[in-house]
């Protein structure tokens, strides 16, 4: 998690740069942060890291693949709800009840809805946090990419999906908690979330998942598939002429990004203790993309740091100056996306290009 040096490095440092940065990031996240931060701040950081996990997927699908994924809130929400449903059921079971608390208040009867029942099984619930978002992404992606629906169409369809899911969740008050969502979650696989020690454990899990996914994404970027994905982004027709099916290439990126968002949503629930429609509609879905855009969509580290920075700025500044923050947020998007398409990660590159007077190449979105 260091800034990338701009001078051309010697071969040895080049080989060590990425593992070195990764090791430094790991030390900062797993060693320094837990020692330096109070319990409260560490749990805030845990929340930001969940957004960072989504950003890893965004960097893959959007930064590398050119797919503007504006519906990540859907996958975040599916993962979050799958986890929260399981935790609510275990909370209820701990007090000898069969129904979660909100269903006893607003529910339609004494019976658990049939689609809640399997989530009592921890293995099923955990699998669903990733598989459910991936399945939805695969379904939508298959239909959209196969028929070569254009970029703008895809962006709007994924937004509409986010709107539809949050409207549906709000409408099913009796079985999903409606606008409130699933709140007041007490335990995490037998550990009480009130205990700061267990909150730290949750933080470590989230930080470790983030580091693992970043390493995996980095491997994917340098693989043959990663090259192919960039090729599809830059010239889909040429890739088709070479005998590949661009639809499949895009589908993989979209589905993997959805799985990451689902995992992030699942980890968000124990970190924050709530999942609700307000966290997954159109506005938060765009928010997931914005963090990555500000940091630098094409750069993995840039996207992750951007997501953390925007989430941090959001919670610190919006409490102190709500109005000023909204203006600043808007301005940030306008400036970062409009005038610095590579995000903050590209500041160095842009400056160097200006010095050497190489014309900037327009990026295909």
């Amino acid at each position: 998690m260091t800034t990338i040096t701009e001078t051309p490095p010697t071969p040895l440092t080049a080989r060590l740069r990425v593992p070195g940065a990764f090791a430094l990031g790991a030390v900062l996240l797993l060693g320094v942060a837990p020692l330096a931060l109070s319990d409260f701040r560490l749990s805030l950081l845990a929340k930001y890291l969940c957004y960072a996990i989504v950003a890893v997927g965004v960097s893959l699908a959007w930064g590398r693949g050119g797919l503007m994924v504006l519906g990540q809130g859907v996958f975040f929400g599916l993962g979050g709800y799958a986890m929260a449903m399981h935790l609510k059921l275990t909370d209820a079971a701990a007090t000898g009840e069969t129904l979660p608390d909100f269903m006893q208040l607003y529910g339609t009867g004494d019976a658990l809805p049939w689609w809640w029942e399997p989530f009592a099984n921890p293995g099923f619930a955990l699998a669903m946090t990733v598989l459910l978002p991936m399945a939805v992404a695969a379904l939508l992606g298959f239909f959209v990419f196969q028929r070569r629906v254009k970029g703008a169409y895809f962006a709007i369809l994924s937004q509409a999906l986010a709107a539809a899911l949050s409207i549906w969740l709000i409408g099913q008050q009796a079985t999903t908690g409606g606008t409130n969502g699933l709140t007041d979650i007490q335990g995490f696989f037998g550990y009480s979330l009130d205990d700061p020690v267990n909150q730290r454990m949750v933080y470590f899990v989230i930080a470790a998942v983030l580091l693992l996914l970043m390493a995996a994404a980095r491997q994917l970027f340098v693989s043959r598939y990663g090259e192919l994905l960039v090729a599809v982004r830059d010239s889909e027709e040429r890739v088709r002429f070479l005998g590949y099916n661009p639809a499949n290439v895009k589908l993989v990126a979209y589905v993997v990004a959805a799985g990451m968002a689902g995992l992030a949503g699942a980890l968000f629930v124990p970190a924050v203790g709530i999942i609700s429609p307000a966290l997954i509609g159109i506005v938060p879905s765009i928010g997931f993309v914005i963090g990555a855009a500000v940091g630098g969509r094409a750069s993995l580290v840039g996207a992750v740091l951007g997501a953390i920075a925007v989430a941090w700025a959001q919670s610190t500044l919006s409490d102190a100056f709500p109005a000023a923050w909204t203006y600043l947020q808007g301005l940030l998007f306008v400036l970062a996306v409009g005038f610095l398409p590579g995000g903050l990660a590209s500041v160095g590159v842009v400056l160097r290009r200006r010095r050497t007077r190489t014309p900037a190449t327009g990026e295909t979105a």
């Binding site: 539809a164 409408g171 998007f333």
Partner: protein, 294 residues
């Protein structure tokens, strides 16, 4: 029978609102390829314009009629300014216009909150538009009829401008082949700005109409914006008749589904129907055939 008629009228009036909102987008998104998320805030501008005018003109009917052209000009001017400041730099990156204008939309919403306050405000509908008209057991809300008329009038006006005026010819030329239009001596930059002015102005007109059916508030635009984009997507890029047909079809579908299921389930089914429809016609209902490969 009356149930069916009543439901179809509800559907048509939902369609009319959709059409009014999507009409401006047919120009800015359909013709120019700009995904303007601030379109919803231009609608909001039109609604607040009505609210402001009603404070100075006490006769609700007169203020509504005055509001229509004023809202068109105010929202249009904002659109032209946005085009000049930001969007003209982004024509090569259409998807990025979505994020940039989203930032603009956030700022405009906050501006509305600072000027008019966060709670919703109300306008008084003219007496003429508050009642219902009954015909053969079917009740039509007068305000809905007014919106339907306004939507059809706007379509007619836009069609005349696009088909019969020199400006319309230039707009179509720029859309179909920008380079060729440029070498033919058309100032494409200026045409872009005028197109954007008209598209945004139509959002303002839609905003005036919406004061008759819903509350006026800083976030009112976001409630409609995605639906409006869907109309343009399904109708076919830049196709006026596509948008008209789609708006009414989606309105009726929505209203029929809402009657037989719930609002939220209806929304989901409509979305699934749209994805299915795009399998059949990926470029939308109508497509513009050009010789360009893009």
């Amino acid at each position: 029978m009356t149930v069916i008629l009543n439901q179809s009228f509800t559907g048509i009036s939902i369609g009319a609102v959709l059409l009014l909102i999507a009409l401006g987008l047919t120009l800015t998104f359909g013709q120019m390829g700009v995904i303007n998320m601030a379109h919803g805030e231009f609608i909001m501008t039109g609604a607040y314009t009505t609210y402001v005018l009603q404070k100075s003109i006490s006769n609700a009917g007169v203020s509504l009629l005055v509001a229509l052209p004023v809202a068109f000009l105010v929202a249009g001017a904002m659109g032209a300014l946005l085009e000049w400041l930001l969007i003209r730099r982004l024509y090569t990156r259409p998807l990025d216009t979505l994020l940039v204008t989203w930032g603009v939309s956030l700022m405009l919403q906050q501006l509305a909150r600072d000027v008019f306050g966060a709670p919703n405000v109300q306008t008084h509908a003219p007496d003429l538009l508050t009642g219902n008209i009954s015909m053969g057991g079917v009740t039509f809300a007068s305000s809905r009829l007014f919106i339907l008329g306004l939507a059809l009038l706007s379509v007619l006006a836009l069609t005349i401008v696009l088909r019969l005026t020199p400006l319309g010819r230039r707009i179509r030329a720029v859309v179909q082949n920008r380079d060729l239009a440029e070498v033919s001596g058309i100032a494409t930059g200026r045409v872009d700005r005028v197109t954007f002015f008209i598209g945004s102005g139509l959002a303002g007109v839609a905003g005036v109409a919406l004061t008759l059916v819903g509350p006026i508030g800083p976030t009112m635009g976001t409630n409609y914006i995605v639906d409006a984009f869907l109309v343009v997507v399904v109708g076919g890029i830049g196709q006026l008749k596509g948008s008209v047909l789609t708006a009414f079809a989606l309105g009726v579908l929505q209203s029929v589904l809402e009657y037989s299921t719930t609002v939220s389930v209806a929304k989901v089914i409509v979305l699934v129907a749209i994805v299915a429809f795009l399998q059949w016609r990926p470029q939308g209902l109508y497509t513009l055939r050009t010789r360009s490969l893009a």
